[in-house]
């Protein structure tokens, strides 16, 4: 059974078809990349999986169960975390507090005991902090842990978003353009992080990315999307040499360059 299964999904905004009968499945433990030109429907696909929009038809299953009946806030609890293309952090909070929000789905205490701050709540808080601290160590965010997001450089923010998603302890993590806006050094850094997320955190990675270097380096399989339709899918090498991909997306003479 695949971890995530997207079957025959279609979505229209007004007259525009954003997704047209898209199907694919993500296996446990792999890094799966979605590539395609702007407007191909990649982010829409992510928004669909995180339940920010509703498909006109089709089915999305996670661990064999449909997630389409769940609200957007019920997705994290299943073990699906995500980052955003244009960073959506809690600007006025510190890095630590941002990551702690990721622990929200793991909370146990009810409102009254939180107001009283019972010993049980205290124990729970400490457990959350221990978990978050592991993520901070994992991503080397120690220098920033007490700083507010508003003053942080872009590359660090991107990493904090990854960290916040990891704090959920997800089975599947959706990365929306993790390398966009990063310097070449930071992109290399991100590449190793993604590798580590899979190997050391044991999470499956589904990502949307434009940087073909990064995609080729980290992903096991690649799905090519254009105009809301699946062009092809396969290993990075298969996809890169696929005639339709070269023609439709990279341009006629880009085959060798890529």
């Amino acid at each position: 059974m695949s971890l995530l299964e997207v079957r025959d999904v279609s979505l229209r905004f007004g007259g525009v078809t954003a997704l047209d009968r898209v199907s694919f499945s993500v296996e446990r433990g792999e890094v799966f990349a979605i590539v395609g030109p702007n407007g191909a429907g990649k982010s829409t696909l992510f928004n669909l999986i995180s339940r920010f929009c509703e498909p006109a038809q089709g089915e999305v299953r996670f661990e064999g169960e449909s997630i389409l009946g769940r609200p957007a806030s019920g997705i994290a609890a299943l073990g699906i975390a995500r980052t955003f293309q244009n960073i959506e952090l809690f600007e006025h909070s510190t890095v630590l507090e941002n990551l702690l929000v990721g622990r929200h789905v793991r909370r146990r205490a009810d409102i009254v005991s939180q107001i009283v701050f019972t010993p049980a709540v205290r124990r729970e808080e400490i457990a959350h902090r221990a978990a978050v601290e592991r993520v901070i160590d994992f991503l080397d965010l120690q220098p920033y842990r007490e700083q507010r997001i508003a003053g942080l450089p872009y590359g660090v923010r991107k990493m904090v978003e990854v960290g916040r998603a990891l704090s959920i302890e997800p089975k599947l993590i959706l990365l929306d353009e993790p390398a966009s806006g990063l310097s070449p050094e930071e992109t290399t850094d991100m590449r190793f992080r993604i590798d580590d997320i899979r190997k050391r955190m044991g999470a499956t990675v589904l990502m949307v990315e434009h940087d073909m270097g990064l995609v080729t380096a980290v992903s096991d399989r690649v799905l090519v999307l254009a105009d809301g339709q699946v062009v092809t899918a396969g290993t990075p090498d298969e996809v890169r040499t696929h005639p339709k991909v070269i023609e439709a997306w990279l341009g006629a003479d880009a085959g060798e360059a890529a």
């Binding site: 982010s43 928004n47 920010f52 955003f84 293309q85 244009n86 959506e88």
Partner: protein, 291 residues
């Protein structure tokens, strides 16, 4: 016959609400700011006209006083934008809301200091004159209110639809930075909008004052006009007028057919119903945010 009379007086009241609501919408459409002091600007317009026209004050001819009031309140609006609101340029809507509420307090205080806190009446040539239409007795003031309102709404509507400036105003509200890049003088447009809203408020104030007495707390009428603007959908000029008329009409009828206590309650209850059923007003302009 009786209910016809109710309708006419309701329409006249509704037009005043509609005019204040028009001011809200005008500013909202062009700057995306919400001016909670619009009601107080209306009050200021009424008092300025009164101060210019009444014999106990300056005693200028009525029409001169009217034009004077419109010009003065427009200038006040422009000045407020220039000195105060421009400093919160680009900040959240809530900051502007709180700022304009505070400005309303200040305007009320200023008016109270100049003209006192007792109710005063504007000496207007159209007050108390009755017109006989068939069997119907209508106040000239009421007819004037309806006519002026219709004219003003139509003019503003055409302005936003047809003129280059009107379209530029709408553009600047939706994305200030992009509007800048397209060469739209965003700040100057904001100043102009506030002046326009001030002029509208002055007209509303004069019309309101010719129907009854005014005091510095008259500005609280703005809250009712808010209900009107919301009922009509915040971004629509005809909607604002329609909302004002609905509020104006519902008041006397609620008082007559339910109980007198309910005439105050009805507009707000209606607004809450509209907000719950259509959270962004009847003529909605809101779309979902993209991530």
């Amino acid at each position: 016959m009786d209910s016809l009379q109710l309708i006419v007086s309701g329409l006249a009241n509704g037009c005043v609400y509609g005019l204040i609501a028009l001011g809200f919408v005008l500013i909202y459409k062009a700057t995306e700011q919400v001016n909670f002091a619009q009601g107080d600007m209306m009050m200021l317009g009424a008092f300025t006209a009164l101060g210019l026209a009444n014999d106990s004050h300056l005693g200028l001819p009525f029409w001169v006083a009217c034009i004077g009031a419109v010009v003065i309140v427009a200038a006040v609006g422009w000045l407020l934008e220039r000195t105060v609101l421009r400093r919160v340029f680009g900040q959240s809507q809530l900051a502007v809301v709180i700022l304009t509420i505070a400005l309303g307090f200040v305007l009320r205080f200023v008016a109270g200091t100049i003209w006192g806190h007792d109710p005063l009446t504007l000496e207007s040539p159209i007050a108390g004159v009755n017109v006989r239409l068939g069997g119907l007795v209508l106040g000239l003031d009421e007819i004037a209110v309806v006519l002026v309102t219709l004219l003003l709404t139509a003019a503003l509507f055409a302005f936003f639809r047809r003129t280059k400036l009107g379209v530029a105003m709408q553009a600047s509200s939706q994305n200030q930075l992009a509007a800048y890049y397209m060469g739209i003088p965003v700040k100057r447009i904001h100043g102009f909008t506030w002046a326009l809203a001030g002029a509208t408020a002055a007209v509303a104030g004069i019309l309101f004052a010719s129907k009854g007495s005014i005091d510095p707390n008259t500005g609280l009428l703005g809250i009712k006009a808010f209900a009107a603007a919301v009922i009509g959908g915040f971004g629509s000029l005809p909607g604002a007028l329609a909302g004002g008329l609905v509020v104006g009409l519902i008041e006397p009828f609620a008082a007559r057919y339910v109980a007198s206590g309910y005439s105050q309650v009805a507009p707000y209850a209606l607004m809450l119903v509209v907000l719950i059923l259509r959270p962004h007003g009847i003529l909605s302009q809101v779309h979902g945010k993209k991530v």
